[in-house]
Amino acid sequence: MSTDNESGERLTPGQQGFGPSDGVLVANDLRKEFGGLTAMDDLSFAVQEQEILGFIGPNGAGKSTTFNCVTGFYGPTGGNVWFKGEDVTGLESHEMVQKGMARTFQDFAPLSDRTVVRNVALSLAPDELLTLAGVSGETERLAEEICRRVGLGDQLEETPGELPHAGMLKLEIAKAIATNPDLMLVDEPFAGLSSGEVQELTEVLLSLRDNGMTLIVVDHNMRGLLNLIDRAFVIQFGAKIAEGPPDEITDDPKVQEAYLGGDEI
């Protein structure tokens, strides 16, 4: 796996950093400390336009922290994030969304007081305080269309509580799509899904990419991601341990060592 090692060394933090123009989303020496704990240790990566990057690591590797720092839910302790060439480090989460970066939540965050379609409609609402948008129902129609595209067409009027697990995942993705993003960070989309459902969701995500979207998909193992991602980026203890095409990365000794605890890659 010489190529992996090569690229791995080239991208080792501190040796040669990334710049704003290295991809649609670029993180350079991104660092997050909680008290004395370093959750993210000078992590650097770049995602190219219309790429699907798999962000992989064992439980507790710092995947969610990275996610939260990139999307503005946490402020990073150090480092930079560039999105579409613009420095967006430390911006608030809603500003990131407005710039075109959407995310889904691993533990789901639907609003239980409203139907599926109205959950999606909230993401379509303009960030304005006084508006008549939505009165005539065009927002609702667009929300319905998005629901149908992710396969929720039959559950439009159900509340999130009535949805099966796969439905909740689809709703998360529909809500993210509705913000009209250029880049979508998807947190554990396949957790707990049957192989048929994985296939269905994979097709949805691939079609989003075909329509111009860039995707970062987080998961703690790569099973299921193989047919989806172009490149895998493996982290452990908040630092990168390997990077490369998915079918090669599973043979990487460091990756295998990281997963020795019983987790399956």
Binding site: H94, A125, P126, D127, T131, L132, V135, E138, T139
Partner: protein
């Protein structure tokens, strides 16, 4: 976000469609039954004075103001879940500002009322900004203390507050009776009406209809704000701020806006109140122990249904009717305890509020809408499949759940 362009791709000419949809929604014949009942209620309020003597008009007029206050509370607490326990602060800021401008600076209420409204809005900012950083229980404590501090300031600057109120804030008695908006001929009111008894009659009617008009105006504005797609974000704040942020909406801005809107509405109502049927004094505006009005407003909203805007109006009616009914039972003596039912006031009302909390946390409004739907469904021969009564998804349930979660966080931090 490029929603606008996306919509026009799908929906053709949206502005014309939007206009048509708005007009369709305003056609009373096409409205759902609950809206028609609401319109009927408004007609009832318009016709009410025909059944009353002028000296009986005070209570219904006051009731209309209480409705405005309750709606004001509902915007910020019912909708966004930022519980305020001292909302009368805003009513007092509006009322005192306009009264003192009139009494001590000679500024007509026509200007004083908007100024009072603005100043209440500034008060909303002053509480709303720290509220962004304060979690529920702390915010509640702050809002609980604020009207009490205000009442102490009234006493502290009893005789003089330099520049702002040269003759002072008047302590427990208030600064005096400001110019009335309506009055009989020669009373010095802004609008002088007829002489003698017919003047008294006209004044009572004018006060009532002004209050009714103002109440309806506030109702329409608040409904428009909360029912728009932006207002959709308000109840979402109550549930999950991260989800709001993930939808690309600025949670802080929405929370602050709710506070300021609520304060402006409360300040407007408070300012008009002191120029019509209420004396500006701590007892008159803040209520007993400087806190009663704030509590009453919360009870009304809970009775009617938090997070609905319309609910507080119904709650206020229930509130007032119960006071009348209980007050009328002065001859009914409870055995053993040997007290008249009328003397128990406000205990029966508080008991009703507690019963609402336990049995219909969504409030009277939601419970009746559900009941109505069930009746309609069974009339059609269907089974009504709505959410069960007392579900945890109600606005109040969410507010309490949010409060609990925040309390838990605070306690965990202390460990």
């Amino acid at each position: 976000m490029a929603t606008e362009s996306d919509e026009s791709v799908l929906g053709g000419s949206t502005s014309a469609e939007r206009r048509r949809a708005v007009l369709e929604k305003l056609n009373p014949l096409e409205m759902p039954i609950r809206f028609q009942l609401g319109l009927l209620g408004i007609v009832g309020f318009v016709l009410l004075p025909t059944q009353l003597y002028p000296d009986q008009m005070g209570r219904p007029t006051n009731l209309l103001f209480l409705m405005m206050f309750a709606m004001s509370w509902d915007v910020v607490s019912g909708y966004t879940g930022q519980l305020s326990f001292g909302h009368a602060f805003f009513f007092a800021v509006g009322g005192y500002t306009s009264a003192i401008l009139d009494l001590q600076h000679g500024i007509t209420p026509v200007i004083g009322i908007p100024v009072g409204m603005l100043l209440a809005g500034v008060g909303g900012l002053l509480i709303g900004i720290p509220a962004l950083r304060l979690r529920g229980p702390y915010l509640s404590l702050v809002t609980l203390i604020i009207p009490i501090i205000l009442a102490k300031l009234f006493t502290l600057f009893n005789n003089s507050l330099p520049v702002l109120a040269p003759e002072g804030l008047g302590g427990r008695n208030g600064p005096g009776l400001p110019t009335q908006l309506f009055g009989i001929d020669g009373s010095g009111a802004v609008l002088e009406l007829a002489e003698g008894y017919s003047g008294i009659q006209q004044t009572a009617l004018a006060n009532y209809y002004l209050a009714l008009g103002l109440m309806l105006l506030i109702l329409v504005v608040l409904l428009a704000v909360t029912r728009s797609s932006a207002g959709d974000g308000f109840p979402a704040l109550r549930e999950d701020e991260d989800a709001v942020a993930a939808a690309g909406l600025d949670a802080s801005r929405f929370k602050l806006f709710a506070f300021v809107l609520s304060a402006v509405v409360g300040g407007l109502a408070g300012a008009v109140w002191v120029h019509t049927v209420q004396t500006p004094s701590p007892l008159g505006i803040l209520g007993q122990d400087d806190i009663q009005t704030s509590i009453d407003v919360i009870i009304m909203s809970i009775l009617g249904g938090t997070g609905t805007i319309v609910g507080p109006i119904i709650g206020a009616v229930v509130f007032a009717l119960s006071a009348v009914v209980v007050g009328g039972l002065s001859d009914v003596i409870i055995p053993v305890a040997d007290v008249a039912v009328a003397d128990l006031r406000p205990l029966p009302l508080l008991a009703a509020a507690m019963a609402t909390l336990v049995f219909a946390p969504g409030g009277v409004l939601r419970a009746n809408i559900r009941l109505g739907r069930r009746i309609l469904a069974s009339a059609r021969g269907d089974e009504y499949e709505g959410e069960p009564i007392g579900g945890g998804d109600s606005a109040l349930g969410q507010i309490i759940e949010k409060y609990r979660a925040e309390l838990r966080e605070i306690i965990d931090e202390r460990r």
